[in-house]
Structures are given as structure tokens and as C-alpha cells.
């Protein structure tokens, strides 16, 4: 019986080795993946859906690599010289909330959501590849010391993240572009990607 168990376990490891041979683990401490059911193509599909959203301007505009928020569909530097400031929230007397409130203002075209702010400097995504963004997102040194579970909840529940699908109208009254993946589909893909071990496909 014991020998059979060892044989089965060894076989399972070999199978997973083949299936997962083209992948790196996003976070070694978080591998709840049921290895026997791991499907590389499904994982890559979920990863790409998630990244189609996270690399969209609605997200990256506020994850700058130069401390300057970006605006609009062309991601131009924020007007009026606005920048990160001391607390990711602009300057002392002219902060994000001088203009941005907790919801969109379709009269002025100024977007808004709860906790409107730049992502912390450690979360610079602008200019990174999908894989580099995922590595940053899973690195507690850079992701605000979030556990993978906390990261998953942040990505699927935080109002500022989900604002991307309700971005309101711009100053010309034109609806802002939404991410290319529907919200429900994105949430499902993110949850599955984490449930499968948050495995980052290797660069091709």
C-alpha cells in the first residue's frame, strides 16, 4: 500500500512537471493549486484576461513610473503639474480631492471614486511588461505587503479598481473607454488564476 502511494505521488509529480514546465511560480508561499487538474492553457488564458485589464490605461494611468499621474485615452501627463506629492495624493493644498471626489462628476467630466489616489511608488507599472507587472503585484516588497489572498480581493473588490468599468464621461461628455474584458469575466479570471496558484507564464 505504502509503495503504491509513493508510486502514485511520484507519477503525479512527473505529470505536473510536464504540465508546469513552461511556468514560474508567482509566489512560492502561495501554491494551493490542485496540481492534478492544472491546465497550462487555461492558466495562460486567465492570466491574459487579467492582464488585458491591468495594462489598460484606466489602471496604468494611476500606476505611473515617473510619479506623474496620467490622464485620458492618450495617457498624457496630468495637467496643472500635478504629481505624486508626499502621500500619493498630490500637494498639501492642491490634492487629488481638490477636484476628484468619491464618484464621477458628469457635469464637469472629472472622474472620481472612493480613495482616489495614485498607487504607491512601489507599484509602478507604467512601461512594464505583463510578466513584470504580475511579478510586482505578487511581491510583498512592492505590493504593500499584501498576501496573495489580499491581492486577489483588492483586484476583484476594491471600488477604485472596479471604477475602471464605470469611468463616467470626460469633459466633452464622451464616455471614457472601459477595459477590454467585461468586469464579471475579469473577476472570474482573476479568482481562478489565484486559485490555480498565481502562476505567471514565462516570457515567450
Amino acid at each position: 500500500m505504502k509503495r503504491q502511494t509513493i508510486l502514485l505521488f511520484t507519477s503525479a509529480l512527473l505529470i505536473v512537471g510536464v504540465l508546469a514546465s513552461n511556468f514560474t511560480i508567482g509566489n512560492a508561499a502561495y501554491t494551493t493549486i490542485s496540481n492534478a487538474t492544472f491546465d497550462a492553457k487555461v492558466n495562460e488564458g486567465n492570466f491574459n484576461k487579467m492582464m488585458d485589464v491591468l495594462t489598460h490605461k484606466r489602471c496604468v494611468n494611476c500606476h505611473p513610473s515617473d510619479n506623474i499621474p496620467k490622464q485620458g485615452e492618450d495617457s498624457h501627463p496630468h495637467y496643472f503639474g500635478m504629481a505624486r506629492g508626499e502621500d500619493n495624493h498630490g500637494y498639501k493644498a492642491t490634492s487629488c480631492n481638490t477636484c476628484h471626489q468619491s464618484e464621477n462628476n458628469n457635469y464637469s467630466g472629472v472622474p472620481g471614486a472612493p480613495e482616489w489616489s495614485l498607487a504607491p511608488a512601489s507599484m509602478m507599472w507604467e512601461g512594464l511588461t505583463r510578466i513584470e507587472i504580475a511579478q510586482s503585484m505578487m511581491d510583498p516588497e512592492r505590493n504593500g505587503a499584501r498576501t496573495p489572498d489580499e491581492t486577489m480581493h483588492h483586484l476583484t473588490e476594491h471600488e477604485l479598481v472596479l471604477w475602471a468599468w464605470e469611468p463616467g464621461l470626460n469633459a466633452e461628455g464622451v464616455p471614457r473607454e472601459k477595459p477590454p474584458v467585461p468586469k464579471d469575466e475579469y473577476i472570474k479570471a482573476v479568482k481562478q488564476w489565484f486559485a490555480d496558484g498565481a502562476i505567471i507564464p514565462e516570457s515567450k
Binding site: 506629492g85 500637494y91 498639501k92 493644498a93 492642491t94 477636484c99 468619491s102 464637469s108
Partner: protein, 161 residues
């Protein structure tokens, strides 16, 4: 919908159908306080700057529903002719305005800055005072901001001594 707030020290309530109406419109058209100006209507020029609970905000981009229970100050409540706010006094001394349209917004933004940064450097001014003046009175405004800081510091010292 009824929304109540304190504006320039007076308790006011407004009945309004659309709770998302910009506070600027309420201030100008319902409360008849015309000192706050409509400039661009998209939070870009700063002519509509007022204080809500002491913070500078662009009232063209601030839904009136958010004003519920708040303390609002407009240029009419910043000071008076007899007792001008140090910012207003400095503006008079430096003869800052040209056409004057944008000046209330600048003064409100400056008053908010001095609460946060009592003695601002030129860099503090550049970062925090980002309103637009089509007459380009920026040079005189910069001098007035420094002067206002001086006047405000002096009055604080008098109060404290």
C-alpha cells in the same frame, strides 16, 4: 432633496431636484453669492475655488449632495472690507487684479495654502497654486502670496502674544 450646510458662518438649506448639481451653481444661482466664478466648468481653471471644511475644492466639480453638513467658505466669507483676510489685504497692497475675474479663486486657493504651509516657498506656490489667470498676473500674485504669509504670521503672533 433637501441639503443643509453652513456657508460663511450661516446655516442654509436648499431644496434641489438633482443632488448632483454642482455646488457652484447652488452658490451663485440659488444663494446669490456671485463672488465665486464660473470659468471652465471642468475643474481646470480654479475660478470656482472655495473651501469645504477648510480644504480648497473646485466647486464646479463638487456635487451639492457632498456639501451636506459641511462648513463652506466662499470669497464673501473669507474677510470683510473692514477686516480683510491677510490674503485679501495683500492682494490690495500689491494691486494684483487686472480684469479680476479669476482672483477670488486664486485668493481662496492661497488662503487654503497658507493654512497648510504658513510660509510657502516659490516651489510650494508653483505646486499648489495652479489656477489660471488670462491676464497673467502671476508675478504680482506671487508677491502677494509672500506678503499674505507675512501678514498672516504677524497677526498670528499678535493673537498668541
Amino acid at each position: 432633496m433637501k441639503i443643509s450646510f453652513t456657508i460663511n458662518g450661516t446655516q442654509r438649506s436648499v431644496d434641489i431636484a438633482d443632488e448632483n448639481t454642482p455646488l457652484l451653481w447652488v452658490i451663485r444661482d440659488m444663494l446669490d453669492l456671485k463672488g465665486t466664478k464660473f470659468g471652465c466648468g471642468k475643474a481646470a481653471c480654479g475660478a470656482c475655488t472655495i473651501h469645504v471644511d477648510g480644504q480648497a475644492i473646485r466647486s464646479c466639480s463638487y456635487a451639492v449632495k457632498f456639501a451636506q453638513g459641511k462648513q463652506i467658505t466662499t470669497i464673501e466669507g473669507l474677510g470683510s472690507e473692514d477686516d480683510p483676510h491677510p490674503v485679501q489685504q495683500a492682494w490690495i497692497e500689491e494691486i494684483v487684479p487686472q480684469c479680476g475675474y479669476c482672483q477670488p479663486g486664486f485668493m481662496m486657493a492661497t488662503a487654503a495654502l497658507l493654512e497648510q504651509v504658513p510660509d510657502p516657498t516659490d516651489e510650494d506656490i508653483d505646486k499648489n497654486i495652479v489656477n489660471v489667470c488670462r491676464c497673467a498676473t502671476y508675478y504680482r500674485m506671487r508677491k502677494a502670496i509672500h506678503r499674505a504669509a507675512e501678514l498672516k504670521g504677524r497677526s498670528s503672533n499678535t493673537i498668541n502674544s
